[in-house]
């Protein structure tokens, strides 16, 4: 009986590890607008303590759930934060709000503003508002990389509403999530399948992943149980 309970503990441990990995995966499963290539463009847009700005942007897909920004190191630290809001095109009605955070695998100081899904976002223009604040006064600024904006409508506007940034917009992109897990996995499959031979595409890819996971899980269970 004691031996059986040891096996039970190991099975639960394996299950916890498995669930933890896939929980994280499903949390990460959202799709940045890959048509936007983020660039470390100059000049930097600097945000002082207590300062704010707005910028219009358009979502290319439905179910907008995140914005990603490229910042110059360091980004906001423990005692400072960049508070962000998404409002409608008139910048009047706030739709979502939250804080800018470092992305999961912080490659190249990518930061993200994550929020609850905005359905029917495709083709709509939104207003991003951001304000930088510190708990203690400090002259250090948060610096965003910028990109040239073709349309002055999408340029950064300072808190007084003036556009002093010469047609620059933040180096940022929108991220969306599909309606269901199946659709999300379908979209991921589409992305992985691109530039692959037929035997690594679509149904073949599903079959490969299924066989890999089925064999791995069975293997661990059998080795614990026997």
């Amino acid at each position: 009986m004691k031996f059986i309970s040891g096996k039970k503990i190991l099975l639960i441990f394996a299950m916890i590890m498995f669930v933890a990995v896939f929980w994280k995966f499903f949390c990460l499963l959202s799709f940045p607008d890959s048509s936007v290539t983020l660039k470390k463009g100059d000049p930097l847009f600097e945000l002082k303590d207590g300062a704010s700005f707005t910028q219009m942007f358009t979502a290319n897909e439905d179910n907008l759930n995140k914005l990603e920004f490229l910042l110059r190191t360091p980004g906001p630290k423990n005692k400072s934060s960049v508070r962000m809001e998404i409002a409608d095109a008139t910048c009047e009605k706030t739709l979502r709000q939250g804080t800018l955070r470092k992305s999961f695998v912080s490659s190249g100081n990518l930061h993200e503003f994550k929020f609850d899904i905005i359905p029917d976002s495709q083709g709509k223009t939104y207003c991003l508002k951001a304000e930088f604040s510190r708990k203690k006064p400090d002259p250090k600024k948060i610096r965003f990389f910028t990109m040239k904006s073709d349309d002055p409508k999408f340029a950064i506007k300072n808190e007084d509403g003036n556009n002093e940034n010469d047609g620059l917009s933040l180096s940022m992109r929108t991220v969306h999530k599909s309606d269901s897990l199946t659709q999300n996995l379908g979209e991921l499959n589409e992305r992985i399948s691109q530039y692959k031979p037929f035997f690594l595409k679509h149904y073949f890819l599903y079959a490969i992943v299924f066989l890999f996971l089925a064999a791995s899980v069975s293997l661990v269970v059998i080795l614990i149980v026997i």
């Binding site: 990460l28 499963l29 190249g108 530039y195 080795l223």
Partner: protein, 521 residues
């Protein structure tokens, strides 16, 4: 279904308990994981993959050359376009926007299309570009056995487009990795691990992240890893059963093919010669003066032959001790630092240098801590019995103290039987000779790699992947050390199961939360 019912169901399936079935499951899990990994890494994204694929293409070209060759081509271009590759490789890299989107900044991905086909995939599928090299010197790796075998595959499928051939060669690498896992099982089984412990060892090897990632790419190191493992198997069989033509052939063929694959395998010559000397010593004995002289002469002859062989790798100024000794000193002080050793260890286990991940660094640091315990266990395991007994006695006293405390309620077992349990710890661990052999293999590879790095003035570096050829020996050593500390087969098997769960979780984490996130999200 209730847990106990599920357990009973699994245990009633007798085929599930058969080692052959479980081994098949391990090989399947490794193979399909590998194929999945080949699909996750975009084309040309692996370590030096383009160079290796171009070597394969070079060998698959029609002979004699009937096209115009442009010599000394130096291009005024950036990234991939700068290299002298085939038109097909260069045009494909343009079509997938390799330099901008794949090799570019880590936060950018390919510009994806809707559906299962990339924006310019149809152009690649037309298979209209030249599959041969026109610009010389060709940008390729040293031709090796791996490239020759892969060239046979690409030649067979030359009518297919580059995507088909490229990913097929990656799958060929996965197949070689699968054989490595199989040999790892056989090594563990033959050093004296139980059937279950051997299966667990092979499964841990199969889920080692760096090994898994590496075997999903186009690189001659994958065949080198396989041949190191087959050499280790041959040696273990020779140490176990005595030298016979089967294990001698396995060792000799592995050394020969290894050298045909990569010069690193030359270190196997030294190990091979040492083993032969050991077997000769055991066979003939050297009590008689005449035999002793004959034996020493043979050793001198072998060392001279090895010296002549290795001469090509030794710099001409090597004997000038005034420059060589300071140079070695400088190399050691620059490269044997905690930071560089730590980086080698972390990248060996699976840290990806192209992401800044707190989790990856800390998981690999945790593995290093476990390795430190394992080293302690190995030292304990190898200690001569006179020191050993003192340490064992101390551990026994501690063990009995704890055991008496823990089993007050169930005190059927006397102190004497507890001590007798402790004495059985050698039954489930390998004999010392195997452990010493694994250590010899690890030292030989370390010396070989560090010598090559010193020769190249530290330009090669010592990334963890260079040490993968000893992966089976390494995993067995780690768990032997842990087993020596745990001292009971039941706990030893449990440690292997926990090792497998952690290794699998780490691998899944790297696949689903790091690689997919990097390239597709």
């Amino acid at each position: 279904m209730h847990y106990n019912a599920l357990l009973a169901k699994i245990q009633s399936l007798t085929f599930c308990k058969k080692p052959a079935f479980i081994l098949f499951l391990i090989l399947c899990a490794f193979f399909f994981k590998g194929v999945f990994l080949t699909s996750l890494f975009p084309i040309f994204a692996g370590q030096d993959e383009t160079k290796h694929f171009n070597s394969v293409t070079f060998l698959a070209e029609p002979r004699p050359i009937t096209w115009h060759i442009k010599s000394n081509v130096k291009k005024d271009a950036e990234g991939m376009q700068k290299g002298n590759y085939t038109e097909e490789i260069l045009e494909t890299s343009k079509a997938v926007n390799f330099d901008e989107e794949i090799k570019g900044e880590l936060y950018n991905t390919l510009s994806f299309n809707d559906g299962f086909y990339g924006k310019n995939e149809a152009e690649i599928n037309e298979n209209k570009w030249k599959q041969y090299n026109e610009n010389y010197p060709v940008n390729r790796a040293d031709i090796s056995l791996y490239h020759k075998l892969a060239a046979k595959i690409t030649k067979t499928f030359s009518s297919q487009d580059l995507l088909f051939r490229y990913f097929l060669v990656r799958i060929f690498s996965v197949f070689l990795g699968t054989l490595t896992v199989l040999f790892s099982y056989l090594i563990a089984k033959n050093v004296g691990f139980s059937s279950k412990a051997s299966l667990l060892t092979a499964a841990i090897v199969a889920f080692q992240p760096r090994f898994s990632i590496y075997t999903a790419a186009i690189n001659y190191d994958i065949l080198l890893i396989l041949l190191f493992t087959s050499f280790t198997l041959g040696s273990i069989l020779a140490l176990k059963n005595g030298l016979n033509w089967k294990n001698f052939s396995l060792m000799a063929v592995s050394v020969y093919l290894g050298i045909q694959t990569k010069p690193t395998a030359s270190v196997l010559l030294v190990v091979f010669a040492s083993l032969m000397a050991y077997f000769a010593y055991r066979k003939i004995g050297i009590e008689k003066r005449k035999t002793k002289l004959l034996f020493i002469s043979a050793i001198i002859l072998v060392i001279t032959a090895l010296g002549a062989y290795f001469k090509k790798y030794i710099p001409a100024t090597f004997l000038d001790l005034n420059s060589t000794i300071p140079s070695i000193g400088k190399y050691l002080s620059d490269s044997i630092t905690p930071g560089k050793l730590g980086l080698s260890a972390r990248t060996y286990w699976g840290t990806l240098t192209w992401v800044d991940s707190w989790s990856l660094d800390n998981i690999t640091n945790f593995i290093s801590k476990i390795e430190s315990f394992a080293i302690l266990g190995i030292i304990l395991f190898l200690l001569p019995s006179k020191y050993h007994n003192k340490i064992i006695s101390a551990i026994r006293r501690l063990y009995l103290h704890l055991k008496t405390k823990c089993t007050k309620k169930n005190s059927g077992q006397t102190k004497e039987t507890a001590i007798s349990d402790m004495g059985k710890w050698h039954n489930f661990l390998p004999e010392k000779k195997y452990v010493l052999f694994f250590i010899l293999m690890i030292i030989a590879l370390q010396l070989g790699i560090r010598f090559a790095d010193w020769r190249a003035h530290g330009e090669l570096g010592t990334p963890g992947r260079y040490f993968l050829p000893n992966i089976a020996a390494h995993i067995i050593l780690v768990f032997t050390g842990i087993g020596a500390l745990l001292r009971k087969e039941k706990y030893f098997e449990k440690s292997l199961i926990i090792g497998l769960i952690l290794m699998m979780a780490f691998m899944l984490y790297i696949i689903f939360d790091v690689i997919i996130y990097r390239y597709y999200l």
